[in-house]
């Protein structure tokens, strides 16, 4: 297993580094692949490890995107004027202006998203089970609608972001950043899931009342977990907004029915509540999606919905969960034959 683990890490790293060199035509697709990995990993903090299935995590992606855009533009221009005359007035950002804006914007995006998570956590964490899922879905939909009505950031028409300085379109730059983000998220979560924190949030998943009875400050843990996932989602939003160069509330920033659902589906497909599950699910889902999307001609959404149903109803443990059930000894899980009950595999492999 140890051997296996290092080949897995090495293989992923090698793919991440050499893929853009080997397949230069697919750089943007592979960048989105790493974005998907971030989505699935951050969703799993809540959905998999803590048992709070949010349908509205995309909120933080959009918030990060808009915060970064406002900071980037606002450092040098008046944002309201910028959006009002978008396209009509040529604005120019020098290289240093661009990068300082991007760095500050990304930092601001991460922290504002976390802050939003704390504030919304206060509202929605009293909700349990389905109410939580519907409440978060509602918050995300409302955020998109309200953003579309806010003229300061261009309303429904959206706003264009500063262009990447120099000759290139910056795809290689954004690739490196997104890949680094995905790796950083993974490593952070690997560390987090090995700490006491993961025991606490797993306890919340298994039985929140008992966890509370044991003296775990459930609300504090829930808020921290949500702001961690918001932190990384905010950064990913800031980067993705700059990558596409144009942001708009419904399709790019708060795509509840596309990215917002993909993140749930990817984590479930790979196996929720495991460290590698979301990564595997994201890679598999993205490859399937990129290959089939162009050939399905409008049926892709029907296929997506059907995939959700099949995944949830017939294959809820996901790929990693299924492998764990099949070969528990490879994951260091001991099956007590006498009891005939498998141990809860999820907490074991999280380490």
């Amino acid at each position: 297993m140890i051997m296996n683990k290092y080949t897995l890490y090495g293989g992923t790293l090698a793919f991440g580094i050499f893929a853009p060199i080997l397949f230069p035509a697919y750089v943007s697709q592979i960048t989105v692949l790493w974005l998907m990995v971030v989505f699935a990993l951050t969703w799993d903090i809540m959905g998999g490890q803590m048992g709070y299935n949010s349908l509205g995590n995309i909120l933080f992606f959009g918030v990060g995107m808009y915060v970064c855009a406002i900071v980037q533009v606002g450092l040098h221009y008046d944002v309201a004027e910028y959006t009002a005359f978008s396209g009509a007035v040529q604005v120019h950002f020098t290289t240093s202006q661009y990068f300082s804006g991007l760095i500050l914007g990304t930092i601001a995006a991460a922290f504002v998203s976390s802050l939003v998570a704390v504030v919304f956590g206060w509202i929605v964490f009293g909700l349990r089970g389905p109410y939580f899922a519907i409440g978060t879905l509602g918050v995300a939909i409302a955020a998109g609608e309200l953003m579309g009505a806010w003229d300061y950031v261009g309303g429904g028409g959206g706003m264009s972001l500063p262009g990447f300085p120099g000759e290139s379109d910056g795809s290689a730059f954004f690739y490196v950043i997104m890949f680094t983000l995905a790796v950083a998220t993974f490593l952070f979560l690997r560390w987090l899931y090995a700490s006491r924190f993961s025991l606490a949030i797993n306890a919340i998943r298994d039985d929140e009342e008992k966890a509370e009875g044991m003296g775990i400050q459930t609300n504090r843990y829930k808020t921290v977990a949500w702001s961690i996932s918001a932190f990384f989602l905010g950064i990913s939003g800031a980067i993705f907004g700059n990558m596409t160069g144009f942001i708009e509330p419904l399709e790019v920033a708060f795509p509840t029915v596309t990215f917002g659902i993909f993140m749930v589906l990817m984590a479930l497909l790979g196996g929720k509540g495991t460290l590698w599950g979301p990564v595997i699910g994201a890679i598999l889902f993205h490859i399937i999606k990129e290959i089939t999307w162009t050939y399905l001609l409008g049926w892709q959404w029907v296929a997506l919905g059907a995939l959700i149903v099949v995944n949830v109803v017939f294959f809820q443990q996901g790929i990693v969960g299924w492998v764990q059930e099949k070969w528990p000894e490879k994951f260091g899980i001991e099956v007590d034959e006498q009891l005939g009950i498998e141990e809860d595999s999820q907490t074991e492999t999280a380490k």
Binding site: N53, L55, A84, I123, V124, G126, L127, G129, P130, Y131, A133, I134, G135, G138, V139, I141, A142, E145, L146, G148, A149, D151, Y152, V257, I261, V264, L268, G298, W299, W301, V302, L304, G305, A306, L307, I308, V309, N311, V312, V313, F314, Q316
Partner: protein, 308 residues
């Protein structure tokens, strides 16, 4: 620009103050539409209360019923005749959905049914989009518009007819639940599924019937909505959220509550649509949902303090 919009908003509010008939108009429109919301919300309360399935495809059932009416209207058949047919078709569709999917999610955790029905909702909405296109459609009913209060308030006859039909359906449903064997079995199962089983009720059949009945109610509500309002493949999610708002506010097994919440939501949407503008309609529904959830939480908080 912002200031300008704000002035319009204030203007709209003061307009309501100056013209009392406008209030009557909005209230009447809202209540008439709200009765249809209450109908599909009652279906959701039924499914939620009896089999603990949170059906996010509720709104898409409504839209499906609406498209059945549209198809009939195109072929020259009146929507009211389409109403029972849509109910029967949707009943069969609900049964089919039950034996293929829903049956497998009843015993599972809360999120499974929510996500599975969300998947169904996506399939239905996108399927309808492929079949009928994304345009807004109406089932032509040929009813006239009534004029009240010296022309200050207008009511379309179609809305009154729809309201009447919704009321008849609701009374029929209540009678069915109270008097018929199946209705009694449904109520028994919702009280205690295990005890019902012991008493010889085939709970499996009760679940299947409940889910199909819900689909049929939604189909009927959809026909009426297509008749008095507009339908579009992607309006389903808004209808689903409306049903959730109403059920969350009213609770299950509380028919008067569902009716009042439905009528209230309809009226609230009309007023906010007038004051804020029609593009805020979805945001209003979602805002009300969040408001209801927060209100429930405050209630629970109070309850907890009392327990402490």
């Amino acid at each position: 620009m912002r200031l300008f919009e704000r002035i319009i908003m204030l203007d709209n509010i003061s307009l309501l103050g100056m013209a009392p008939f406008l209030n009557v108009q909005l209230l009447l429109d809202g209540l008439l539409i709200g009765s249809l919301f209450a109908l599909s919300a009652y279906g959701l309360a039924l499914v939620w209360g009896v089999m603990n399935v949170k059906n996010l495809a509720q709104g898409d059932f409504v839209i499906m019923g609406g498209y059945i009416a549209v198809v009939f209207a195109r072929n020259g058949i009146h929507p009211i005749i389409a109403l029972p047919i849509a109910a029967i078709v949707m009943f069969a569709f609900g049964w089919l959905l039950y034996i293929t999917i829903i049956k497998r999610v009843i015993e599972r955790d809360l999120f499974t049914s929510l996500l599975a029905t969300f998947g169904i909702a996506i399939v239905l909405a996108q399927g309808l989009n492929l079949a009928f296109g994304p345009d807004v459609q109406v089932a032509e009913s040929g009813f006239k518009t009534l004029v009240l209060f010296d022309g200050n308030v207008t009511v379309s006859q179609a809305k009154l007819v729809a309201f009447g039909l919704a009321a008849i359906l609701a009374i029929g449903l209540v009678t069915f639940m109270k008097k018929s064997r199946m209705g009694q079995a449904i109520r028994a199962t919702s009280q205690d599924a295990r005890a019902a089983k012991v008493m010889g009720i085939d709970t499996e059949k009760v679940y299947a019937f409940t889910f199909s009945l819900n689909a049929a109610i939604c189909g009927a509500a959809g026909v009426l909505i297509a008749m008095v309002w507009v339908i579009q493949p992607f309006f389903g999610i808004t209808h689903s959220i409306r049903s959730f708002v109403i059920v969350t506010a009213a609770g299950f097994g509380n028919l008067p509550g569902v009716i009042i919440a439905g009528l209230g939501l309809g009226a609230m949407e009309q007023f906010s649509g007038f004051i804020l503008g029609a593009e805020f309609q979805q945001a209003t529904v979602v805002g009300v949902l969040i408001g209801v959830l927060i209100w429930r939480q405050v209630q629970q908080h109070k309850h907890r303090q009392v327990v402490q």
